[in-house]
């Protein structure tokens, strides 16, 4: 017989949860007391509940397993909303346990009462409310099942305080299975559709694979690579899909969309067949939908039927998990021993190589006095041998990192792609480092973003999380400034940062180390020095050219091939 609070903790143990992230408060105190009386589930005390969700999120993105958050009612719960929305937009499995005022007080505007079910509803995959302590094991099992099956996402569980009362005990049985008549995630793709898709692929002359975050979270990278190599199709990924296909592979085009590679966008626009896998044709990929890839037929594989034909009509929709559908495709291709027309593929690759040679990821290097942000990321990649887990915040530094850090493995590029949440990078890196203590974990950020969750430097000290923070400091909100340069005649409304703190002193105040890099010639040495401090969190403040823009950049309302390649060159 266990109290509701003990059931929650016992359930987490039985579910195999090692770390949870949270912040205590009145409505959650019974649960916190239950946590205190055991030592299997470790609780990480953050400094702001938003950070708890990003920590759980970082862990989930690196491992594919759900991250778990525990907070109190009212402000504790509402502070998690940005983190929940971040996870929701990127389909990240997460379970958020929220305290709630006692059920007898709900609706009376009690102290620290918020309708968390209502507040969270638009940004969760599902939410559940406990109405009797007996229900706790089943509700939690449902929450974990929903969070990680089908298209993953965050699930909130609202737990009124009287559901966890210590002296009210009930029988606890860990439910092994969940049955929900209204929820059945797809397990296989439709065989007929898959066959039809493969026939189209074999008939294609200018094919491309467009792979998204669904390949990463669906653990389908090996199948994707196998199919790509079997067919010799070029592969572009979304920002969320980076790493699902190795950057060094000859068939890799990099990523696509607004700031994607020149060759990715050219290949997409000129293709006659797009094999979309776990991607959702969002507006930062397609540019103007009416001008999107005019000659392409589209095969769309996704576990979520609602993602198919939402913005771009699919010719062959396939609902199913990426890994199983790709496996079925590989089987058919191997069995039929078919190949796309070799002559056509040769011509296609010749064209692709010309596009690659034309741009080649170049950036402006005419000014040798200032560090180019791209150069800083290239050096970071070199020093970490492209093996680090890299989290980022949101803005120019995010795009530069995605462009110039060459990811070879999935689950290593961790960024808020859908919601674009500034303040995500540091706590996400903490969540990764805590669970991968022997791996290099880097947070690339900017002086704008880092200040949105800088208080977590304190958590890093408490739990000894020696991550490396790479602050690309351009003393302005770079991406905002870039848009203002391009669209508002350089009127820099509220986009520059005055009164920046002394980041070195700040890092030290929190008990960490700092390195400042101001000149290009200091870059390699400074970064090496930072990474040599293995057991320390090092805040690396790199002063970069404040006038740099991110290119390529798609021309607004154009097709995929319409891009700015520099401040003056438009194609």
């Amino acid at each position: 017989m266990l109290s509701g609070a003990d059931m929650i903790v016992r359930f987490l143990q039985d579910e195999g949860i090692e770390n949870i992230y949270g912040y205590p408060g009145g409505a959650a105190l019974h649960i916190y007391d239950a946590l205190f009386r055991q030592n299997k589930v470790k609780h990480i005390l953050v400094r702001h509940e938003q950070a708890a969700t990003h920590m759980a999120d970082g862990y989930a993105r690196a491992t594919g397993k759900p991250g778990v958050v525990l907070v109190t009612s009212g402000p504790g719960a509402t502070n998690t909303i940005t983190g929940i929305a971040t996870a929701y937009m990127d389909s990240i499995p997460m379970v958020v346990l929220c305290g709630q005022v006692a059920s007898t007080l709900i609706g009376e505007d009690a102290f620290q009462e918020t309708d968390m079910m209502g507040v969270s509803r638009p940004v969760v995959k599902h939410n559940l409310s406990v109405r009797h302590p007996r229900e706790i094991p089943e509700i939690l099992k449902k929450a974990f099942y929903l969070a990680q099956t089908g298209r993953p996402g965050p699930v909130v569980v609202d737990i009124p305080k009287d559901m966890t009362t210590p002296n009210e005990r009930y029988e606890y049985i860990f439910p092994k299975k969940v049955k929900m008549r209204s929820y059945t995630p797809p397990s296989r793709g439709h065989a007929g559709q898959i066959k039809k898709a493969v026939d189209m692929m074999m008939a294609a002359k200018r094919p491309v694979i467009y792979a998204g975050g669904g390949v990463v979270m669906g653990d389908a990278s090996p199948e994707l690579a196998e199919l790509a190599h079997l067919t010799n199709f070029p592969v572009t990924t979304t920002l969320m899909g980076i790493g699902c296909f190795p950057a060094s592979d000859r068939q890799s085009l990099g990523w696509l969309g607004m700031h994607g590679s020149y060759e990715s966008n050219m290949v997409m626009h000129h293709s006659d067949l797009i094999l979309a896998v776990g991607a959702r044709f969002d507006d930062r990929v397609t540019n103007a939908t009416d001008k999107f890839c005019p000659g392409a037929r589209i095969i769309h594989i996704d576990i979520d039927p609602a993602s198919i034909s939402k913005t771009i009509q699919a010719d062959v929709p396939i609902v199913g998990p990426a890994s199983s559908v790709l496996k079925d495709m590989i089987g058919i291709v191997k069995e039929a021993q078919e190949q796309p027309d070799p002559g056509a593929m040769k011509a296609w690759w010749k064209q692709i190589d010309e596009w690659r040679a034309y741009h080649g990821g170049r950036y402006r290097t005419d000014d040798s006095e200032l560090i180019k942000p791209q150069q800083a990321i290239e050096m970071l990649c070199k020093i970490t041998k492209g093996n680090a887990f890299v989290t980022s915040d949101v803005g120019q530094h995010q795009m530069f990192t995605a462009q110039y850090y060459k990811f070879e493995k999935p689950n290593h590029w961790i960024n808020s792609g859908g919601l674009g949440t500034m303040g995500f990078g540091l706590p996400a890196a903490m969540g990764v480092k805590l669970n991968f203590p022997d791996e290099e974990v880097v947070c690339v950020t900017g002086e704008g973003s880092i200040q949105m969750n800088i208080q977590e430097l304190s958590t890093c000290k408490q739990y000894d999380l020696p991550i490396k923070i790479i602050n690309l400091n351009n003393q302005s909100l770079g991406m905002v400034r870039q848009w203002q340069d391009m669209n508002y005649e350089a009127r820099h409304s509220q986009s520059y940062m005055q009164s920046l703190p002394d980041f070195m002193a700040l890092a030290r105040a929190y008990g960490h180390e700092g390195v400042t890099i101001r000149k290009p010639e200091e870059l390699e040495e400074g970064l090496k020095k930072a990474f040599a401090m293995k057991d320390k969190l090092v805040f690396v403040d790199i002063y970069v050219d404040p006038h740099e823009h991110v290119y390529p950049m798609q021309v607004a309302r154009g097709s995929m091939k319409d891009m700015w390649l520099s401040k003056t060159e438009r194609v």
Partner: protein
């Protein structure tokens, strides 16, 4: 195009708000909405009429299906179906108007369900167009109050929406 989308959902607190929330979140419109428990009281039947292009309707049904508490969804307008709406309407009824209203009610196969010396309360059932037509026939100036149930619908023949 106007569509009647009908669904079974778990008869649980909050389930309705998810459906309604989805419509506002994704900028779909709701013309009418009715909901009540079915013969199986663990299930509610919810009917919504909405207007949208084929693509929007496809998205609406897909997004509804995604809601965890929605068990089944059907677009009734895709096939033969019966639709009905109930209206209670309070009309000013004095002098010569009384006989005239009575005649109109008979033509529309309605019933006068409550009477005072100055007011008739009329009950009318039919497709929404018929209810609109009745209001037009009696003239807006005589209408004191209107309550409409929203559309309920069911497929014709053997087809059923059930578990």
């Amino acid at each position: 195009m106007r569509r009647i989308i009908s669904m079974l959902l778990e008869n649980e607190p909050g389930a309705l708000s998810r459906v309604v929330g989805l419509f506002s979140q994704r900028n779909y419109n709701i013309e009418t909405l009715t909901v009540a428990a079915t013969e199986d009281n663990t299930l509610s039947r919810l009917t919504v009429t909405t207007i949208g292009s084929d693509r929007v309707i496809e998205q609406i049904t897909k997004q509804l299906n995604k809601l965890v508490e929605v068990v089944k969804v059907v677009d009734l307008t895709e096939g033969a179906h019966v639709e009905r709406e109930l209206m209670l309407i309070k009309l000013k009824a004095t002098g010569a108007q009384r006989a005239e209203i009575k005649r109109t009610v008979d033509i529309f196969r309605g019933q006068i369900v409550d009477v005072t010396s100055t007011v008739y309360t009329v009950q009318l059932t039919g497709e929404s167009d018929k209810l609109d037509a009745f209001i037009q026939a009696v003239g807006r100036s005589g209408v004191l109050e209107v309550v409409r149930s929203g559309v309920s619908g069911i497929a014709r023949g053997e087809k059923t929406l059930s578990l």
